[in-house]
Every structure is written in C-alpha cells, then in structure tokens.
C-alpha cells in the first residue's frame, strides 16, 4: 500500500505506539488524584510539557496547554481570545483559506456581533502580509493565519505578519500550525506568535492529543466548564498516554525536521516534473521547492478539470495508492473547494482537486510508481471528461 495521505493523518511511529501502550497499562491513575499513582501520572504530564517547551525556542512549559487536537486548540484559541479581547475591539482578520475549525469559528463569532475580514489568497495560495496589514483597523484585536494550508500546502508569511503586528500595539496573533510542525522550521518568538495550534496525529503521534501555545501575556476566557484541568481552559481528565506519546512524536518530528524538509522537497520536485508531463493535470499552488518558498515540502495538489476527483482517488486506490480530494476533513461534500475558489481558481478546477501528501516512508521509487499510475489512470479517464462549456 502506498499511503499518500499524510496530511489527513500519519502512520504512528512504532516507539510512540509502545510508549502509549506501556503508559496505558502502568499509569492509569487520574493525574488529579492525590495518591502516589496520581502524582506519577501528573509528573508524566508535566515532563511531557517540558519536552514540548524544549522543542520550541523561547517558550516555557507553562505556556503549553494539552488539548484533544488541532480543532479543539483552534476553538479554544479563537473563542477564548475573542471573549477576553472584546473590549479592545470586535474585529478579526483571518484568511478565506483557513481550516473549518478556524473559518467556521470566525463565522460563528460574526453571529455574536464580531466583524471578520476574510482575506483571499493569490493563485499560489498565499495571503500577503501587506493584505493583512491593510486589513487592520483600530478595532482589530485578533489575527488568525494558518502556517501551511491543509489543501494546497501553501506557506503563509507568518514571520512577516508577526513583525508587522509588532508595531500595532497588542493585537493577538494566532497561528494554526497543524500542517507545518515537523515540516518547516518554526520560530514562535521571532514571529511574534501569541497562540499556536498543533496536533500529534500529523507527526506520527496518536489521535486525541493536541497542543496550544499561549503567550504568557495573554489571559484567555474559558470556553469549557469543568474540573479546572489545564488552567481551566481545557478541563477534563488528561489523556496521559496520548500526551506522553505525543511529546515523543513531536520530539522525533521536530528533531528530524531539517533533513525531512530537504528529502520531501526533492520528492515534491520530482512529482511536479511528472505532473508537468501529463497535460490534463494542473498543479495548484506554488512550484517552489525549498525552505523560504511558498510551498510546504510534503504536499502536491493538482486538478483534473472535467473529472470528479473521487473517481481519480478510487482509481488510484485500485493500484494501492491512497490520496485525498480537497482535505480529508471535508472530502465527503460534493462542493467545489472553498480554498481553491478563494485562490481565484475557476469553479471547474476548484471542484476537481486531488491532494497527494507524503511522509518519511516515501522515496523516489514510490513517487515513480505514483507517477506512472497517474499517467495510466488519466489515459483511462480521458474519454470520460465532462467539460463545462
């Protein structure tokens, strides 16, 4: 099987599975319990927090919250910040290409009297820092921009945006880093990031464990009510096995990030060259390959205008190749992709996208196989194209 759907979820690392199983067996006590076993579980949790802080320069253990994943981190960050910042002004600047956990959360805030500016991306899928700066008003209290787009893999200029927010007083800056951790270098302090979301299952960790970095100057409002765990911001008994396993997965992913990026960019370049040889397929997003470019190393997104993307996904699957349409989270709906439309792509191209995302187990041979299979699939599908005139 060729699993080219790493952006949806990653195969868990063997050591991570082992860690999680051992802790499930040994440390089942509730970290809030007073007895020794509870304290041991608590210490595991806090050690995990220190490990995480050690991976992100300039952050302290206490700045990190454990959540159930990216969606929850984004919700706590945006709703929690919005509620505590309302008095500074009820305007949010975000992008039109955010993941639904940010986009729909902002839509919800509009119902509650907030004004939200959704910035469009250019044809490479990038929102410019100029556009963010131009959208700021004296009512803006929150800016939320993803680091890497989950559909086309475009990289947003978060360091540049952060620098520009520096001079604008205390606007809070949230970055959804779910797709960038382990793929790109991340400098939270240098990018003046106040809130940062990540999730373990995108880096070889278990599902059900996410991170939210909260700059110490911030006081988020509570979104949930409960037993006061995680500073009251994410109450509920802590998922100790998943959290420790997540800390390990993040460590492995971040320590090997530079080597991974280099390898993946080479694969990406190879796959783009292959797509260039298939006239029916159109690459979406940027052609860049390299750190500092506009594209993440591990994602290639293309359209086959006139063809339902699920047909391509199913055909590839017959050859043991697993891919996604749009993002896996929303691949069930039959609509054109919001992200592609907001990049200014025509409807036909926006509703025929396929996402290929690779990981550590892939090399040149796998890309070659994908490429030759794609060529064959397109040949088979060609007679069935439906052009909208």
């Amino acid at each position: 099987m060729y699993y080219f759907d790493h952006c949806a979820s990653t195969p868990p690392h063997g050591d991570v599975i082992r860690t999680m199983a051992e802790i499930m067996a040994k440390h089942y006590a509730n970290p809030s319990s007073l007895h020794r076993s509870g304290q041991e579980a608590r210490n595991l949790l806090e050690r995990s927090r220190s490990v995480i802080a050690g991976l992100f320069a300039g952050t302290e253990a206490n700045d990190w919250l454990f959540t159930s994943g990216g969606t929850e981190s984004n919700n706590i960050a945006i709703v929690g910040a919005a509620r505590s910042l309302a008095r500074n002004g009820k305007h949010i600047v975000t992008t039109a290409i955010e993941h639904p956990s940010v986009y729909d959360t902002c839509r919800q805030l509009e119902q509650e009297g907030w004004t939200v500016t959704y910035l469009r991306a250019d044809e490479t899928g990038v929102v410019s820092a100029d556009a963010v700066e131009a959208a700021l008003t004296d009512q803006t209290s929150l800016v939320s921009v993803m680091h890497v787009n989950n559909e086309v893999g475009s990289v947003q200029p978060i360091a540049d945006i952060g620098q520009r927010l520096k001079s604008r007083g205390n606007i809070v800056f949230h970055v959804d880093g779910v797709q960038s951790v382990g793929k790109l270098p991340i400098d939270l302090v240098g990018s003046r990031v106040d809130l940062f979301s990540a999730t373990a299952h995108k880096v070889g960790g278990p599902r059900g464990a996410g991170l939210l970095y909260i700059h110490p100057r911030l006081q988020l409002a509570q979104v949930y009510r409960g037993g006061g765990q995680e500073r009251g911001l994410r109450p509920g008994t802590e998922n100790v096995p998943a959290i420790v396993a997540a800390a390990k997965a993040f460590r492995l992913a971040i320590e090997s990030q530079p080597a991974r990026a280099e390898r993946m960019y080479a694969l990406r370049q190879r796959l783009i060259a292959c797509l260039d040889g298939i006239p029916e397929l159109m690459l979406n997003g940027s052609r860049d390959t390299g750190i500092g470019g506009k594209a993440a190393p591990n994602i290639v997104h293309f359209s086959y205008p006139g063809m339902k993307p699920e047909v391509i996904v199913h055909m590839l699957e017959q050859h043991e190749i697993l891919t996604s349409t749009k993002s896996a989270c929303s691949s069930k709906s039959d609509e054109p992709s919001r992200v592609l439309l907001e990049m200014g792509l025509p409807r036909e191209r926006a509703s025929s996208g396929v996402r290929v995302s690779f990981g550590d187990e892939h090399g040149d041979a796998e890309i070659e196989w994908l490429c030759s299979t794609l060529e064959m699939v397109v040949q088979k599908l060609k007679p069935l194209e439906r052009r909208e005139d």
């Binding site: 304290q39 041991e40 800390a247 460590r251």
Partner: protein, 406 residues
C-alpha cells in the same frame, strides 16, 4: 558595539587585611564559575575590581550570569583602546552610538590614572566631549543631570571607555558571612528570606518540618524544588534537613490549648533547629517572619516564641510588605513553586483563633503538660533525614517515567 571587556565592581566590603583576601578569593571563584560556559573569556584581578576580557564571547549571555552573582555591586561593558587621543575619541563615539536609546544630554568624566598621558582630565573632558558633540548633532552637554555619563579611564595599560552601569545582585560573596539554618516551610516568604540571607554572604542549610501523613509527599517535593532554585544562585549544593514533626504536632494539638497550638509548634521547631544548628556549626536561624503578617508573627508572639533559643534569629523580611516579598519571590523564581497547594505543617491544625498575644507563663505551663516533649524533640533531631540538593538535581517531574518514553 560588542564590548571588549566587562568591568566588575564590588560593593564596599568594609573589611581589610586577611578577610579582604578571603572575600576577593571567594568572589573570584564565583565569577569564574559564572563565566565557565565561555571558554575564551579571561579574568584578571585589580584592587576592588575584576576585569573580564571577552575575546569574542557574547556579552549579553554573560551579563545574565553575572547579574545573579552575590557580591557584585555593578558591572559595565567596556571598550578598551590604546592611550592615544584619536583612539580614545573614536572609542567614545562607538560607545555613545551603541546606546539602546540615543540620549539628549550627556557628560564626559575622564580619570587620568596614567600620569604620563599628555592631556590632563580637564583637557580630556573637552577633547573627547567636543568630538562627540561634533559627530552627534542634537546632543547637548549637561554636567548636573546628564542622561548618560560617558566614562573614560586612562590606566597605564590602556584606556577603558564605558557608559552603562548594570546593577548586580549586590550583597556579599557566598559564605563569607558564616552559616545559618533556614526554616523553610514551602510558603512564599521563607524562600525569599533564604535568598536574602544568601545574598548577604550567609551559607545556609534548610530545615523543613513535615507531619507525614498529615502532610503529603508533594509537600516534600515542593521544598526540594525550592532548595534547588535557591542553590542555583550560588552554584553550590545546599543541605536540606527533613524533620518528622508528626508526633510533636499531634501531642500539641491534643493538649487543650487551641489558641496556642501555633505558638507551641513554633517553639518546638526552634528547639529542634537550635540543636541541629549546634550539630551543623551554624550560628543563627533565618526565618521568613514578617511583622504582623500572621498571628505567630506579631511582636508579642515573636517575643514568646523567640525565647526558646539563644541563637540569633535572623528575619530578613521583618519589615517588608507582602507585595514586596511576592515581587522578590517572582524575581528569584520561587513564587510559582511556593503557591502550589500542598499543606505544610504550618497550615495544618490551624486553630480558628490563634492567639496574637500569647502569655509566656501559660505557654510554658502548656509545654510542661506535654509529658514527653523533650524526648520527642530529641527523637526528631535523631531521626532527621538530610538530603544534599544540587543545583542540577533532577526533579520528580524531570525523572518521571522512563526516559525512553519521551
């Protein structure tokens, strides 16, 4: 400007002769340790001063280390140059240009120690100041209240130019003023008292009273962590004496003098501390008492409690306001640990109405009514558990689980 050197000044140690040498050796050792991570740095001594030649090592990182060394009054990043007018002028300009914020006013203060130098101090003030004024338009001289004082010292071996003076931790080099025991409860105050005692040159050993199982294991972990934080200020390990106070506390709690419980407890604690001090050759007991803060810290209570020991009771926080204490606790990094919600034996069995004005006679009678108090005190001293807490000791959190899980 990355400075060439750092000039370190001591406070006015009012000691002479042999003691002075001891102080100098101590501070030298501490400075050496502070810059041990910077292999290229060279340390040289002069009377009442230390110079560090950076040789390319980063000034900012070194400054952070130096700020916590007890006995350093202040230090300055300096430019060193040769004893020639033009070289001195250009160094002066460099120092002025490197200021984080350009001032409106300044003055030049030249000290000419090298009498062979052709221009005297007065002349040099004009020669250097005039040059800076020409090059930095908008700057004015103000000799009374300058924003920046540009100092130039012409020594035989070379000229030092500097402007900023960074405040150090102050106090005395660690251990130069003897040894005392610190009563460490785990609250906010006692670690701050310990820090201030250490800053004033005291070597400390901490004593902590626990009433297991009325107090928890976490309370012990918390105190270990506090001692570890304190030990980082000197880089030397600190001994922590854990005293089992359960029997004494239980006996006191049962003796029908509810309002006196705290008074009686504190008296017994002091007796134990006094015996430990004797064993450890400590000449004083440091406490976190702050006047009037709680019932046992009224003047009247302190009078009755303090009479149990002949040793000097040192109370660095005695006239400090609570907010001041919290500010220091935050600054030294003990606050977050101190506020962890684990009962220590001072918060346990607290009566509803502890007396603020105990009567010595009644207190002594109450103690007589506890049949075997003296034996229990001897027993507590005999069964003390002593740990050596090193600055780099790994905490319970750091050692949790198996290393290969992380």
């Amino acid at each position: 400007m990355n400075p060439d050197m750092i000039l370190i000044r001591f406070g006015e140690f009012t000691v002479k002769g042999k003691n002075r040498d001891r102080f100098d050796q101590r501070i030298m050792a501490k400075v050496k340790r502070a810059v041990s991570d910077f292999p290229r740095a060279e340390i040289t001594r002069a009377y009442g001063r230390i110079y560090i030649t950076l040789n390319g090592e980063p000034y900012e990182a070194m400054a952070v280390k130096l700020k916590s060394v007890f006995g350093i009054a202040s230090f300055s990043p300096i430019r060193r140059t040769v004893n020639e007018l033009e070289a001195i002028r250009s160094a002066a300009l460099d120092v002025m240009r490197a200021l984080p914020k350009q001032p409106d006013t300044f003055k030049v203060s030249v000290r000419r120690v090298d009498k062979g130098f052709p221009h005297d101090s007065q002349e040099m003030n004009h020669l250097v100041g005039g040059h800076v004024l020409r090059e930095l338009p908008g700057l004015k001289v103000n000799v009374r209240e300058p924003e920046v004082e540009l100092k130039v010292e012409i020594q035989p071996e070379g000229t030092y130019v500097f402007s900023s003076v960074v405040q150090g931790a102050g106090g005395y080099p660690h251990g130069t003023n003897g040894k005392a025991l610190l009563m460490l409860s785990g609250g906010i105050d006692s670690p701050v008292a310990g820090y201030l005692a250490m800053r004033q040159g005291l070597e400390i050993e901490a004593v902590h009273y626990h009433s297991y199982p009325f107090t928890s294991e976490q309370a012990k972990e918390k105190v270990i962590e506090l001692v570890r934080i304190l030990s980082q200020f000197t880089g030397s390990s600190i001994k922590l004496h854990l005293v089992s106070f359960t029997d004494i506390q239980t006996a006191i709690a049962q003796c029908d003098h509810n309002s006196l419980i705290i008074t009686l407890m504190r008296r017994s604690m002091l007796r134990i501390a006094e015996q430990l001090a004797g064993q450890r050759e400590a000449l004083g007991i440091v406490t976190g008492d702050s006047l009037g803060q709680v019932a046992s810290q009224t003047l009247s209570s302190m009078n009755v409690i303090g009479r149990t020991t002949e040793l000097p009771l040192l109370r660095p926080l005695i006239t400090m306001d609570k907010n001041e204490i919290i500010r220091i606790a935050r600054q030294i990094g003990t606050f977050e640990t101190s506020i962890l919600p684990y009962e220590d034996c001072c918060t346990l069995f607290v009566p509803k109405n502890p007396t603020t004005n105990p009567n010595l006679g009644i207190v002594e009678k109450a103690e007589e009514s506890i049949s075997n108090l003296d034996e229990m005190i001897l027993q507590a001293v005999a069964t003390v558990e002593t740990l050596t807490i090193r600055p780099d000791i790994r905490t319970a959190v750091e050692t949790a689980g198996q290393d290969d899980w992380f």
